[in-house]
């Protein structure tokens, strides 16, 4: 968890809002540092986290998590973290016929199905366990990243349905949070991706958009982060708040500064 980002978002692990959908999106740069931030943030906030990691392996998140101060292996052992490793699961599904339906069962099917098995997995992982005292504060679903599902043959509508079901269960019924990452393809004319991104932008409460600099690569400023707070349910005359910061990623943290105020330039 990056302390500077917490200050910008005005939250701490103790008093984060509940029932919110946060959309992370990256354009022309790598926004995965935001995923690492939210993963460590919610683990520190003592939440039950279900992490659907479709793009990298467990050890990758674990090693970065240790730099940020959380141990994913410990969290997994004590039941705080339910980790779906997409790569490993895909290999199992494709090469061996499994008896029970797997979360990534759609890889075996020829035409685009739906993501129902994946939703069942999430619901099963986050359902409250009646074991007396409540150990975890609230459930959180993290998905990294949704654009991979489009590459694997799912339609944008199927993915939006999946998010809708998850939101109904996690955000509304269980009063938890959701964080999803979607790549913005920019000028690559990926229509399905644009549908997905626009649909999610209208549903989310907070949008964090990591963009590369318009002027190109810079060693001291790695990109620009746009933060947009929204209130999707209320149709208000209030305007949504939006802030823009530039950032530089370091080994264990990310430093944020106002545009043009990079320490390298001043």
């Amino acid at each position: 968890m990056f302390v500077e980002l917490n200050n910008l978002l005005n939250t701490t692990p103790d008093r984060a809002e509940q029932g919110k959908l946060t959309l992370l999106c990256d354009a022309k740069t790598d926004g995965s540092f935001l995923v690492h931030h939210f993963l460590s943030f919610y683990l520190k906030a003592n939440c039950k986290v279900c992490f659907v990691a479709l793009i990298q392996s467990f050890s990758h998140y674990s090693i970065v998590g240790q730099k940020l101060g959380v141990s994913l292996t410990m969290a997994r052992e004590r039941g705080q973290l339910v980790f779906l490793e997409g790569l490993k699961s895909a290999v199992d599904v494709v090469f061996q016929a499994q008896k029970e339906p797997q979360p990534l069962q759609f890889l075996r099917e020829a035409n685009a199905g739906n993501l129902k098995p994946l939703f069942e997995f999430v619901r099963e992982a986050l359902k409250p366990v009646d074991s007396g005292e409540a150990r975890w504060t609230y459930p959180v679903l993290l998905v990294d990243d949704l654009s991979v599902l489009l590459s694997l043959g799912m339609g944008a509508v199927a993915v939006l349905d999946f998010i809708h079901y998850c939101r109904a269960t996690v955000c509304w019924e269980l009063k938890g949070n959701m964080v999803v990452l979607v790549h913005d393809s920019g000028d690559a004319e990926d229509e399905e991706n644009d549908i997905l991104l626009n649909g999610l932008s209208h549903q989310s409460h907070l949008i964090l958009r990591a963009e590369g600099l318009a002027t190109g690569f810079c060693r001291d400023v790695h990109g620009q982060l746009r933060i947009l707070w929204r209130r999707p349910s209320q149709s208000t005359a209030q305007r949504d708040q939006s802030f823009t910061y530039q950032y530089k990623i370091q080994d264990k943290s990310v430093s944020f500064f106002a545009k043009g105020m990079s320490p390298a330039v001043l």
């Binding site: 090693i63 730099k67 790569l87 016929a97 075996r108 694997l152 690559a188 990926d190 264990k252």
Partner: protein, 449 residues
């Protein structure tokens, strides 16, 4: 958690590298024995695999791509378990070279090879690999080469773009004791005995497509399905993923797939914009990445992305690969006659470098890279840029004519003036009013963003 070994110890004897390397923690590698601890952290293991070295940044195991200059640009080499995607140049002249360098590096290091192609028989591809330059002979010849090449140029000082004289060149000479990354002579063939001594598997699509290899039903095109099954069989049977109890493998599997996505593989993404198989290639890449992440292997794929009709697929393919390098040759384009590029054969674009086990990655600062194929070597150099030099030239002009140009130039390029030396501002023969205007102008520019 991952201990990093020093790189000097890699420079040892040829056969078994006497180096300690710690692998990235892949769960299937944990030895199920009394020594295995409960957690995933297993501490540094003494693994000696020839032709690999740990990364300086995060202790990850790296293999060489066969081109030491490219290794340096990629942050030390290709990480084990990752995919290197080469976007082919237009006439497919230089990308097979990179493909062959990768395979030749595997043979020289004693790695197992898996070559897959739909166009050429893998046996023929292996016959055409370049010969490695052995140390004692090659150093003399290389020095000769460099000397002949450099002598006429080094005497010419760069008059206009004097700052760029200080930029380091990208190419490195062969270090005589290095065992990571070798140099190859593109004009000679690899000796037959080296090829025969190596362990390699070939996948030639026309032969395999009619075979009755048992294949699980999957929604990929048949060619991709068979290839995936083949790769998975090799990985399992030869023990590269550690799950086979009979086989204890301590070697790297180098996988090379040529022209993936071309119509020869049965895929129609190069023919039609919205074909029936538009997800085949991306699914294949995803499952392949899953196989690689849990095994001791590294993969190179060449893909004719310039032929893919649907640009969205190229973006998805880039997101699903780890390292993406694009080649752009000058043959047939207007750049062939451009005097700026007369020494080079094409441009090389490093489009993506992965951030593995880390928040940051080793990106090179220089983004404009060009390659040329010399008689024996494939070199990559940074281009000298022409655009900025005009501003520095004006600084040396006569003082009288300086100020009218100054105001025009400020509108054009602010940055060079911020770096200008302070002598420009000490003009004593100008009236007060102009001085005031000047300072006001500058302060506006300096603080306005």
């Amino acid at each position: 958690m991952a201990a990093v070994a020093t790189c000097d110890s890699v420079a040892g004897s040829t056969g078994s590298a006497v180096a300690t390397a710690s692998k990235r923690n892949v769960t299937s590698f944990q030895k199920r024995g009394p020594r295995a601890s409960g957690t995933n952290d297993s501490g540094p293991r003494l693994v000696s695999i020839a032709g690999t070295r740990p990364s300086v940044r995060n202790g990850q195991l790296l293999v060489s791509t066969g081109l030491p200059a490219l290794d340096q640009l990629l942050g030390g080499g290709l990480a084990v378990g990752t995919v290197l995607l080469i976007e082919e140049d237009k006439y497919n002249i230089y990308s097979p070279l990179l493909f062959k360098y990768f395979l030749a590096e595997g043979i020289v290091n004693g790695h197992t090879l898996l070559v897959a192609s739909a166009k050429e028989d893998p046996a023929n591809i292996l016959q055409e690999l370049p010969a490695p330059l052995l140390d004692d002979k090659c150093k003399k010849e290389f020095d000769e080469d460099v000397y002949n090449h450099k002598t006429p140029e080094s005497n010419i000082k760069m008059k206009i773009a004097w700052r760029y004289q200080l930029l380091p060149k990208m190419e490195i000479g062969p270090v005589s004791s290095s065992r990571f990354g070798h140099y190859y002579d593109a004009s000679k063939r690899m000796p037959q005995e080296l090829i025969e001594a190596s362990n390699w598997h070939g996948f030639f699509l026309p032969e395999k497509i009619s075979s009755t290899l048992k294949v699980e039903p999957c929604s990929l095109t048949p060619g991709y399905t068979k290839l995936l099954q083949f790769i998975q069989n090799i990985i399992y049977e030869e023990g590269f993923d550690g799950s086979n109890p009979q086989k204890k493998q301590r070697n790297i599997l180098r996988i090379g797939i040529q022209n993936l996505g071309s119509p020869l593989w049965g895929d129609d993404i190069c023919c039609a914009e919205n074909g029936g198989n538009s997800h085949s290639l991306t699914k294949f890449l995803y499952v392949l990445r899953g196989l690689l992440r849990t095994s001791l292997s590294a993969c190179i794929i060449t893909m004719p992305t310039h032929l893919i009709q649907n640009k969205a697929i190229i973006a998805r393919v880039t997101n699903l690969s780890d390292i993406v390098v694009g080649l752009e040759s000058f043959i047939g384009s207007e750049r062939e006659t451009n005097p700026l590029y007369k020494d080079y054969h094409g441009l090389i674009h490093i489009r993506q470098i992965p951030r593995l086990n880390n928040l940051i990655c080793d990106e090179s600062d220089v983004k404009d890279l060009a390659f040329k194929l010399k008689r024996k070597l494939f070199t990559i150099e940074a281009e000298v840029q022409k655009g900025v030099s005009t501003a520095t030239f004006l600084l040396d002009g006569p003082r009288k004519k300086l100020f009218p140009c100054l105001f025009q130039l400020l509108g054009v390029a602010c940055i060079p003036w911020l770096m200008a030396s302070s002598s420009v501002f000490k003009v004593s023969n100008i009236g007060e009013s102009l001085c005031y205007q000047l300072s006001g102008f500058f302060s506006a520019y300096l603080f306005h963003f």
